[in-house]
Symmetry: C2
Subunit: 195 residues, 2 copies
DNA sequence: GTCTATACTACGATAGAC
DNA sequence: GTCTATCGTAGTATAGAC
């Protein structure tokens, strides 16, 4: 449980919020600790009381993630195979993303290389679980043509694509989420459909 | 015409190739001039004979782009309005991308913020033409709901999404292009289809 | 928990010889 | 056109007082 009684106690979390926002707007490499500290109203050196390094700030942003992917994987493996299982799983995944959870996606689409190269405290790539889900879904395909593989992965990444597509447009988060859902359905349909 | 008689004459172009590759793999900010120079087998300072700055290298990569977007815009504006015009235009755009032209897309998806903030020698954002195309296509929509706007933009960015989806998978460029085409068709269909 | 002060490094960039 | 040498800056990070 988080103690918010004393203002100073929340510095770590405020730093995470500020860092996430700046990393998303400007990029991880283009954001300096000085900038984060300034926005927090503290000294640059003080950040090191809360985080061991800049990368530690970054990694901390991935620490408290939910177990959605793992849960979905477990669910998927328990399901009987069937022609609708691919679509069901993809939509379950896409519908995980409510408007509040778009911040993480925005960070990822803004810093793809950073995320790709990032490992958590256990040394596991942070993108590994989603990769695993993708592989499992590809295995459901009747024929494993390369086009199909790409389409499956595109379907999974519909939310990312929607966020990116909306980046330059003035649309609500709700519209982004709704568009992502429809896109995922259309893409899954294309996989199953004629070619 | 490019003189390739003397080895040294090609240094500028070799530098562009090396820079494009490194920027794509590691990101623009994470790539130093020293690294580019090393890969070229020349001194860091020598790069400044060919380019005025690191950003000049970056901008040079966008200099010799074709006029595909502008041409497509011209074509679009000459067409009679019709229910198939949106689909036709999107597919014309997506089919612009052959396997050789994926390198630019890979760079863009790896460095979205860099591209977004980049202006050419005339001060125009390099992404402006595509933005214009998107706006024009959105104007074709019978109802301009925000979801539809996102879906149109997703359709245009199908190649980008396909490249990103394939980034971690072992698929051929041909499969990426083919998947992008099918995705674009599916997304356009979703726009026109029932909701 | 925050500060000042500082170390160390790497970067982009320039000057000038060859 | 490439080199050596160097400049100035900004970055991450650390030491130690308060």
């Amino acid at each position: 449980m988080i103690d918010t009684t004393h203002r100073s106690t929340g510095t770590r979390q405020r730093a995470q919020q500020v860092a996430l926002a700046l990393f998303t707007e400007q990029g991880y490499e283009s954001t300096s600790l000085r900038q984060i500290a300034d926005e927090l109203g503290i000294n640059k050196a003080s950040l090191y009381h809360h985080f061991a390094s800049k990368e530690a700030i970054l990694r901390s942003l991935f620490e408290d993630r939910g177990t959605e992917v793992a849960d979905l994987l477990t669910w998927l493996r328990e399901q009987p195979r069937g022609p609708r299982l691919l679509e069901q799983t993809v939509l379950r995944w896409v519908d995980t993303f409510t408007t509040e959870k778009l911040a993480g996606i925005r960070f990822t689409t803004a810093n793809p290389l950073v995320v790709r190269g990032l490992a958590d405290a256990s040394g596991d790539r942070v993108g590994a679980p989603l990769q695993e889900l993708a592989d499992e879904l590809v295995a459901l395909l009747p024929d494993g043509g390369q086009e199909q593989v790409v389409l499956v992965r595109m379907a999974i990444l519909s939310v990312n694509a929607a966020v990116q597509a909306a980046a330059q447009a003035d649309v609500s988060d709700a519209a982004v989420v709704a568009a992502a859902h429809r896109a995922a359905r259309a893409l899954v349909g294309e996989i199953g459909g004629a070619r």
